[in-house]
């Protein structure tokens, strides 16, 4: 059973086309994330689903109902039974926490009251029920906004960058709390974010968007391991990029090694992308064979649980286009030292040059 379906959605603001024939489907009870850079149209898509943006072209279905379709009068937001959590929370300043959360509950019942009270306690807001939003911290406001959206038992929950207003240390904890709550209540959710780590953590289904189109859909690990384009591959962090020509033997030869390129004819220029975490350093002699890429260290910076290395080819040092490696744990070779690396081929992605999608 599908929770949310959007078909053939196109949308423009004036002459600017923001969405181009976007279709997606979120199954009941799952959490899906729209991941993409700012301006790719993900928030607009969310607002169309909620009914806050008038549908120009396409079809939107929530649960069993069509709520909007080209050429037909659409269901207004108040009739769609959709929960929406805004980036700036949009808590009503003139109402207390309790009144905010209960705002959408038009037919109060014993059950809902009990659930609301329990949820408030679960989220650590006990004792704040008669405080006003401005008296709460950012994290507390975020939780109130979430509860407010969930209290009226919506068919689906939409979240617009729900954690971007929180500072980094808070974020992980609140994220986890939110995900637990969603899984517990079993709500279908569609979340918009530009943070890839957040998207991977929260979603059962990941949809990558760029410039008004959905570029790839799948589970987070699928997209991480099998990106369909350079754009998707580089979404998860800075990535090493090399240009090369396909050789006659169907492989490319680069500083970081030789990699097979099936299906691409010889002489075609390609981009070879290697994730920083795909460079494994030989940290002690006798660690096995396969460490045949030798690179000179420019700098080694520890960043907590991993070390970030800047590397150049010792024969042809090009400091402008240094390579990056991310080594788990602490590994601090001296600057100028040469280190041997083994490249994990599952972290190497090869695409035609010049294509973004």
């Amino acid at each position: 059973m599908t929770g949310l379906t959007m078909q053939g959605i196109s949308h423009s603001f004036g002459h600017q086309q923001v969405l181009d024939n976007v279709s997606l489907q979120v199954d009941q009870g799952l959490v899906a994330c729209l991941l993409g850079p700012s301006g790719c149209g993900k928030t607009t898509l969310l607002r169309i689903a909620a009914g806050l943006e008038p549908l120009q072209r396409g079809r939107v279905g929530i649960g069993e109902r069509i709520v909007a379709e080209t050429g037909l009068a659409e269901l207004p937001p108040e009739a769609r039974n959709v929960g929406l959590m805004f980036q700036d929370y949009a808590l009503f300043p003139h109402l207390t926490v309790w009144e905010n959360v209960k705002f959408g509950v038009t037919t109060p019942s014993q059950d809902r009251n009990a659930w609301t009270a329990a949820a408030i306690e679960r989220m650590g807001l006990l004792g704040f029920a008669d405080h006003y939003p401005h008296e709460l911290s950012g994290g507390q406001q975020q939780r109130v906004a979430l509860l407010r959206a969930l209290a009226p038992e919506p068919s689906i929950l939409l979240l617009d960058e729900p954690f971007s207003g929180l500072d980094v240390t808070r974020r992980a904890q609140v994220r986890e709390q939110t995900l637990n709550l969603l899984k517990e209540t079993g709500h279908t959710a569609l979340m918009v974010t530009h943070d890839p780590e957040e998207a991977m953590f929260m979603s059962d289904q990941l949809l990558v968007m760029d410039e008004g189109r959905i570029v790839q859909t799948g589970s987070p690990i699928e997209i991480y391991q099998h990106p369909v384009s350079a754009f998707v591959a580089s979404l998860f962090g800075p990535i090493n990029e090399l240009s090369a020509l396909v050789g006659n033997d169907g492989s490319v030869e680069t500083i970081l090694g030789r990699f097979p390129v099936p299906g691409i004819s010889a002489g075609t220029p390609v981009n070879v992308l290697v994730r920083p975490e795909g460079l494994h350093a030989q940290q002690s002699s006798g660690a096995g064979s396969g460490y045949d890429v030798r690179l000179r260290v420019v700098s080694a910076r520890p960043i907590g649980r991993s070390t970030h290395l800047r590397l150049v080819d010792e024969n042809n040092p090009d400091h402008e286009n240094a390579f990056h490696a991310r080594i788990p744990g602490l590994f601090l070779p001296a600057s100028g030292e040469t280190v041997s690396f083994h490249i994990d081929e599952s972290q190497v992605f090869i695409f035609h040059e010049g294509t973004r999608q």
């Binding site: 599908t2 379906t5 078909q7 279709s23 489907q25 607002r47 909620a50 009914g51 806050l52 079809r59 279905g61 069993e64 109902r65 069509i66 709520v67 909007a68 379709e69 050429g71 037909l72 009068a73 659409e74 269901l75 207004p76 937001p77 108040e78 769609r80 039974n81 959709v82 929960g83 929406l84 805004f86 980036q87 700036d88 949009a90 808590l91 009503f92 300043p93 003139h94 705002f103 959408g104 038009t106 407010r148 959206a149 009226p152 919506p154």
Partner: protein
């Protein structure tokens, strides 16, 4: 991906085939705007009707005189308020002198006093038989008019002085806001380039503040054009006075309407001036760096001069009339209360309350309709409906009266022919006509205040309420209005007070034997009985203080980088 059509099969589509459904809010807003602009359009229509040669008669006799006098009056007041308003605003923002913090808000006080009230007071004091001349004659031993010269207050010059004294706060407020907005850097640069304070003012600060000052002067001129009480009392023949004369004495409504059309050209020029000035303000924002403004410490003698310059407008514009009226009230309150004073008070309060209530509702409705459907049509409708503040009360009275009269006659004739029963006049010459007139004139106050306040509420609030199940109307009631509470109150107070003070329109539109405090005071003053109606005048001033208090609170809060 499953085709959505299979999902929709069970219940069938719940969406109606889309016909063009006229949208409640847009229609409501357009109808309202139409009602409000109706009277203004009516003036033009009526003016084009044949007038039995009145126009020719007017233009060959009094029209040039009316026009010239009006121009002189407006120019005089414009210059006077420009000097006092800008000068005091500069002193108060840029210089340090004793009492400066007090003057900052106190300079607004004369706004509480309507022009006609201050005119009555000063005439009373300064006329031949008044206390000042009495005193002078006693001291210098003069006998009668031939022995000395004393300025005649009942003159064009007198009218200019009176209006300048109570209208300069408009320029003061806008100039002050402009000076505060100016980036500190600009002025500091000016000083480091060797300019003296006076040169800084003339070459840098004033030009930057010019748009705001022009907007202020336009407002002042609109109020001058509107005035009836002062010019009537002083027998200054302006266009407004002419309208009354032609309508009431010559019984020619179309002649009055033609004079009104002439006035509309002035109004259009003034509106154009004000709008251009407001648009110019955008380009005069030199930066957003706010810090404590550098105060120029004035030398001792100059500082005291500054104090004096700020004190005088308050003393003459507010203190004197207030004290004189208080004095009279104490002497004569028994006579006042024995008369129909309480009835007039009740009338004023009722009219003001009703008008304020309706104005707020219409203002909210228009502002919210624009928020829901931001279309060109709606914005234009709102702007047109807000034009009333620029149109003189006398003109509006004509525009309200005549269509209503015609409507009344039509209703009467219809019912007469149907039932043989004559309904008489049910709309014109009633409180309904007055309230309509007030709405047309003061809607801008309510709409402007509410629109600004509504704009501060983020769009996501609307989205939150809608997704939580509340429709647009419910959202307005449960989210927007509670958040905007104080602004709604402010809008209501502004309209309330302006209706209390209103004279020109009330004079023309009131039913027979119906007096408000304003008309009562005007009547008694004209009959040389100001003392007896002083309590009424004082009540009007007291009502006028309330918006001044609100303004002062806003002023003290508006200092960036509060010291």
């Amino acid at each position: 991906m499953t085709k959505i059509s299979s999902i929709s099969a069970p219940g069938g589509s719940t969406l109606a085939k889309m016909a063009w459904r006229p949208d409640r809010w847009t229609i409501g807003a357009l109808v309202t705007a139409l009602l409000i602009t109706g009277p203004i359009v009516a003036v033009f229509v009526i003016a084009l009707a044949p007038s039995n040669g009145i126009w020719a008669h007017l233009s060959s006799t009094v029209l040039p005189h009316y026009i010239w006098t009006t121009i002189l009056l407006m120019s005089g007041v414009g210059i006077g308020t420009l000097l006092i308003g800008t000068g005091t605003a500069w002193l108060v923002t840029m210089c340090r002198f004793p009492g400066r913090r007090f003057f900052e808000w106190a300079l607004v006080l004369p706004l509480a006093v309507p022009a006609y009230v201050i005119a009555y007071v000063y005439t009373d004091i300064l006329e031949f038989s008044g206390p000042i001349q009495d005193f002078l004659r006693g001291v210098f031993g003069w006998g009668n008019r031939q022995d000395y010269w004393f300025p005649e207050i009942r003159s064009l010059g007198g009218a200019v002085s009176m209006m300048t004294l109570v209208l300069y706060p408009y320029v003061y407020l806008l100039a002050r806001a402009a000076f505060l907005e100016q980036s500190v850097c600009v002025l500091e640069v000016s000083r480091t380039l060797g300019k003296t304070p006076w040169q800084s003012f003339r070459q840098v600060a004033f030009p930057l503040a010019r748009p705001a000052v022009i907007a202020g002067v336009s407002l002042v001129m609109m109020e001058t054009l509107n005035d009836f009480g002062t010019v009537d009392y002083f027998a200054v023949a302006t266009l407004t006075a002419g309208i009354y004369d032609v309508w009431l004495n010559m019984s020619s409504v179309s002649g009055a309407a033609q004079l009104a059309t002439v006035m509309m050209t002035f109004v259009i020029v003034l509106i154009g001036m004000e709008r251009l000035a407001r648009r110019g303000r955008r380009f005069h924002h030199t930066g957003t760096k706010y810090s404590v403004l550098p105060d120029m410490q004035l030398s001792r003698p100059r500082a005291w001069l500054a104090t004096l310059s700020c004190a005088l407008p308050i003393v003459f514009g507010f203190l004197t009339p207030a004290l004189v009226l208080a004095d009279y009230s104490l002497d004569f309150y028994e006579e006042t209360l024995a008369g129909d004073f309480l009835i007039y008070m009740r009338n004023s309060l009722a009219l003001a309350t009703i008008s304020a209530g309706i104005a707020v509702m219409i203002g909210l409705f228009l502002a919210y309709a624009i928020r829901l459907r931001d279309t060109v049509v709606l914005r234009a409708a709102a702007r047109v409906a807000s034009i009333g503040y620029a149109v003189p009360g006398a003109v509006l009275a004509i525009g309200v009266m005549l269509p209503l009269t015609r409507l009344d006659h039509a209703i009467n004739d219809t019912i007469l022919s149907l039932t043989g029963f004559s309904t008489g006049l049910i709309l014109s010459g009633t409180v309904f006509a007055m309230v309509l007139g007030y709405l047309v004139r003061f809607l801008a106050l309510s709409f402007g205040t509410l629109e600004a306040s509504l704009g501060k509420i983020t769009a996501n609030m609307d989205g939150a309420s809608r997704t939580l199940g509340r429709g647009p109307a419910s959202t307005l009631l449960r989210v927007h209005i509670p958040i905007m509470r104080s602004s709604v109150l402010t809008a209501a107070i502004l309209v309330f007070v302006d209706v209390m003070k209103e004279l020109p329109m009330t004079m023309l539109l009131r039913p027979f034997n119906f007096e408000t405090l304003a008309t009562y005071v005007h009547q008694y003053a004209s009959d040389e009985l100001l003392e007896e109606s002083a309590l009424g005048a004082l009540s009007i001033v007291a009502a006028g203080i309330i918006p001044v208090i609100i303004l002062s609170a806003a002023i003290t809060r508006s200092r960036p980088g509060r010291r």
